[in-house]
């Protein structure tokens, strides 16, 4: 059973970077990604997320 991850960042390259790092860890898997907090909230409400990678400066 892998840990389901959500990635939130407004910079696409940063998402790619975290994705790349996560892919190297077997216990983690990326199930969703988005570029703002509102979308993140929506995703949190519709699917099961265990772990969220959230950039602190991300806008709404």
């Amino acid at each position: 059973m892998k840990i389901k991850c959500l990635l939130v960042d407004d910079e696409p390259l940063a998402i790619k970077l975290i994705e790349n790092h996560i892919s190297k860890i077997d216990a983690l898997e990326v199930v969703a990604k988005c570029n703002n907090a509102l979308k993140a909230f929506e995703i949190l409400n519709t699917q099961e997320i265990d772990l969220m990678f959230l950039i602190s400066k991300c806008q709404t």
Binding site: D10, E11, P12, L13, N20, N35, Q59, T60
Partner: protein, 267 residues
Amino acid sequence: MGVLARILIVHVGETLVRVPPFRQETIFEILIEWKKLLLHYIPAIYSVTLIFLFIKYVVDYNRIREKDLTLDKEKAEGELKTLKAQLNPHFLFNTLNNIYTLSLVNSPKTPVSIGKLSEILDHILYKCNGKFVLLSSEIKLLEDYIDLEKLRYDERLQVSFKTNIETDAEIPPLILLSLVENAFKHGAGEDSGSPQIDISITNKNSLFTFEASNTISKHYQGGNKEAIGLANIKKQLDLIYQDQYSLNIDRNKNIFTVTLHINQNSI
């Protein structure tokens, strides 16, 4: 003083040059003739002193003015250095991070991006040491900068960059870059909607025009920082162009526009 001078002239000077016979006043006579002393000898002596004082004053004044001018110049150079220093840390950090990611995912953009960053640093470090740089060279800088900034954002960000250069011109270095940086920082960096940035540069009939406009997010709160940045630029332009330029900042509901006009005939 006056008494001493008169005694010397009457008893030493006149005996040497004047053909005798002539009447010589005694020291006592000289001492009591205070009117003659006051009206003839004292002004004669002090006028020389005054002339020298005046010359010294003029020389000192010129020296101080020269010093002021050098100070002004040094200040302008110092401000230019600040402009240069402002770019480096943030932009360099972001861009290196972006390039790191590009290389990690084996993106074909990696070498191009490194090349552009290198070109930017070359321009800033080695070509911006004079008072002016070629407009064409600054435009190349802006293009590289915009391309690197675009790496950070996805298709949400719309950037247009138009140039219409009739003849190449000389402009103060890095001023345009600061304005473009501002547009990105406040336009794209703080807006997650669909920000748009439009930049245009024209140089026609000796009139140079730069215009940068960016959309601003609803939640944007203008800080003092940008005001300081713009004030610095204004100071620079004041020193170089006096009243031969205009820098207009316009902010309506959701678009922020900076327009710079320079009359190239002025230099």
